[in-house]
Symmetry: C2
Subunit: 200 residues, 2 copies
């Protein structure tokens, strides 16, 4: 296996969800795995002085149309949830906790949480919804929900976000392939060329 692809994302990011639905088969075709790393776009927006896409005048209206069309283009089911955007702090901490003991379950959780939010349209920032997602992947929901309230896990997510910002992650999805940065689900075509034939 080559170096894993680092996939920085926010559970509240529609384009991260779209990319998450295709990145693993894409990576596998070139002998790579995917390392999912949560970021919090709110923190990135503060540093970059930007805002959630849907709140920008003109751009906001277009973006909603583009998200839906891009999902149809990719053949991926998608709804823009009523609660949008959300703070994905608890889900992000849960991911870190799960990854400690079982990377495969952590990966399944990424997909289950994204689909709960962007297909079923349910607010994964709500603890009872998040508990349902955790149970779907066979995790002990009570144990995980207790853990995400502990200072240690709060600190670890904060440190992970700071580390991402320090590496220049200002949006999501944000991928590093062999250290090369690619921002946006629309850069997956360039990611594929990189994987196929190296730096260009």
């Amino acid at each position: 296996m080559g170096i894993p692809i680092e996939f920085f994302f926010d559970f509240s990011s529609p384009y991260s969800y779209l990319a998450s639905e295709v990145i693993e088969p894409l990576a596998a075709r070139y002998g790579r795995e995917v390392d999912y790393k949560p970021v919090l776009l709110g923190a990135a927006f503060k540093v970059a002085g930007t805002r959630p896409l849907t709140e920008v005048p003109l751009k906001g209206e277009y973006s909603k149309r583009d998200m839906e069309r891009s999902a149809r283009f990719a053949g991926v089911p998608f709804v823009l949830p009523e609660a949008f955007p959300i703070g994905a702090v608890a889900a992000s901490r849960a991911l870190i906790w799960l990854a400690d003991s079982d990377v495969r379950r952590a990966r399944a959780f990424v997909h289950a949480a994204f689909r709960e939010y962007f297909v079923a349209g349910r607010n994964i920032a709500d603890n009872s919804v998040l508990a349902g997602v955790l149970r779907q992947v066979g995790a002990d929901a009570d144990q995980v929900l207790a853990a995400v309230q502990r200072p240690e896990l709060k600190e670890r997510l904060k440190a992970a976000v700071d580390a991402a910002l320090a590496r220049g992650v200002f949006g999501a999805p944000f991928l590093f392939v062999d250290g090369e940065p690619f921002w946006g689900h629309d850069r997956l075509v360039q990611v594929e060329r990189w994987l196929a034939s190296g730096p260009f």
Copy 2:
């Protein structure tokens, strides 16, 4: 021929240049022509509350890398000019003036101006550089440069920009295909699907 593709762009936009190098052959494959329409991103940024890409913290550094890599990906020569961004008012007015009498020359001017700026790296906001571009396409440079200072042409560009903003154009390139909006050179893959098989 089907309805022409409306191609809104700013002469100062690298991604507009990249798209301009491929949009005509793409359109022609599906029996379409391209209607080049100048906008001024400065005006759009004011409405949307955004900024030139390269001036946004974190995003700026990435963007420069992405422009160069995207150009290599597309096989299009590219340099980021020393004078960047520029106010493309004179070039935009010149385009409107040229299109009145000769659409083919206007189209040639778009490419010549873009290449002067993004391949040779010369500042097309400079009148002597712009005059050279006009001569390249067989236009009377003195006549055009005099015309772009007249109130009538100033008003027409202003009206064109206002009309673009009213249609939701907040960035560049911004295309309308059969009225459907597509923002960004990276949406050309979706434009192609639309041209090939209609709405999706």
